[in-house]
């Protein structure tokens, strides 16, 4: 199994280990493919489709698609960038994302993707849905207004914490993040130190009493677009 797989992303040759996904191989090669639900420590899920690339001309989620010999992958094309922009815009209008007072602002991956794509306003009408806030837990806030249904918390609770705190209920437009308990978050065995709390890309799951600790100008995405770390590592290796 020491064989490596050779394929190309936007014409650049990339090597992957057998079993690696396109996204993992791209990261290792210093090529950033935008993503929201994918997380290094979690099994791929394919929820958000932001990482959609074209594999031999066919759209595929880069986070779930294993790399294969001779694949021709397109990622940074005007068509796919437009597709990703529209996905981000749809996520903004289908939730209640008030960046101006959100504790996650500046460190939020959804916001950072919008910055990276230079989105100044969504082209879709705002839906202003009714979503529940669950503040029952003494140390953790669950604000479903900001949920993007990425399932990171669902996966992290199962795969990293050995628990099963979060699950989805409902289907389609009614799909909602719910807690695995009789009533609310306080009834679960969630601990504030659980990885499920950390992995939320947006401000849906927050530690209480930690808000606005990092001043504006020093937050994660204040100066550099999301994905810069991956691209910089690639440039340093001369990729």
């Amino acid at each position: 199994m020491s064989e490596t797989i050779g394929f190309t992303i936007d014409g650049r040759p990339v090597r992957a280990r057998p079993g690696q996904t396109i996204l993992e191989a791209a990261d290792a090669a210093g090529i950033y493919i935008p993503r929201l639900c994918a997380h290094r420590e979690l099994h791929p899920f394919g929820a958000c489709r932001v990482c959609t690339v074209k594999v031999n001309g066919r759209p595929q989620a880069a986070c779930t698609m294993p790399a294969a010999e001779g694949m021709v992958v397109e990622s940074n094309t005007p068509e796919l960038t437009e597709h990703r922009r529209r996905l981000i815009e749809m996520l903004f209008v289908e939730g209640n994302h008030y960046c101006m007072f959100c504790e996650k602002s500046g460190n939020c991956e959804l916001q950072a993707l919008a910055y990276r794509f230079g989105i100044t306003a969504p082209r879709y009408p705002y839906l202003f849905p009714n979503r529940d806030v669950d503040a029952s837990h003494p140390d953790v806030l669950l604000d479903r207004n900001r949920c993007v249904l990425c399932a990171r918390c669902v996966r992290a609770s199962q795969q990293l914490d050995g628990k099963n705190v979060f699950q989805f209920v409902g289907r389609g437009a009614n799909k909602t993040l719910w807690v695995n308990a009789e009533r609310e978050l306080a009834d679960t065995n969630l601990d504030v130190r659980d990885r499920a709390v950390d992995v939320c890309p947006v401000g849906c799951i927050l530690r209480k009493r930690q808000g606005y600790t990092i001043p504006i100008g020093r937050r994660r995405y204040d100066h550099e677009p999301i994905g810069s770390d991956i691209e910089r590592a690639g440039a340093a290796r001369g990729a």
Binding site: Y98, M100, I216, E224
Partner: protein, 182 residues
């Protein structure tokens, strides 16, 4: 009348923070008045349009019928209409009432709120008062908006660079650090 392009500004359902940010361009405001004349705007307190404007800057979304009328008037008088700030773009803080029925909002504000004294229980109903809309609307859901300057408030640099680009017929391309939603 001078031949300089004219700029109009207004604050709809906003907090005037975006206008504060316009003033926050500091001494560049001297350059700005070399470049443009202000028309209808709280900055010069002109209440009515005096002519055709090159650029209209709109702060705030639409929460009542007067906001809609002012916005439509701006659209009629301005070549380029710009939404400035989160409230104009997404409704902002006022839009937080969009999840609550209007009747409940009015009752809380004028009847049941903990600091309300209103023994007759009458809701404000004078004909001089603009009717409140069913919900708060972003400006681009009411009229066509040409550009959006994000931020709460937008950084002075975002406003300045957008104005300079538009006045010089250049594309509006803000640097990464100037596009902020908060």
């Amino acid at each position: 009348m001078s031949s300089k392009p004219r700029i109009a500004t207004c604050s709809l359902a906003g907090c005037f923070g975006c206008h504060m940010s316009i003033l926050d361009i500091d001494e560049r405001i001297l350059q700005l008045i070399e470049l443009v004349d202000f028309d209808k705007s709280p900055i010069d307190d002109l209440k009515h349009f005096t002519g055709r404007c090159a650029i209209g800057l709109v702060e705030g979304g639409c929460c009542n019928e007067e906001n809609v009328h002012v916005l439509q008037e701006f659209r009629r008088h301005c070549d380029i209409l710009v939404s400035v700030g989160e409230c104009a773009i997404c409704g902002g803080i006022p839009a937080m009432r969009n999840n609550i029925p209007l009747k409940e909002c009015m009752d809380e504000a004028y009847r049941n709120g903990p600091t309300v004294y209103n023994p007759s229980g009458v809701l404000p109903n004078d004909t001089a008062l603009p009717l409140v809309l069913d919900r708060v609307y972003p400006c681009h859901e009411v009229v066509k908006i040409d550009y959006h300057i994000q931020g709460c408030p937008p950084p002075a640099d975002a406003i300045w660079q957008t104005l300079v680009a538009l006045l010089n017929n250049r594309p509006v391309e803000l640097p990464y650090e100037v596009l902020k939603y908060d």
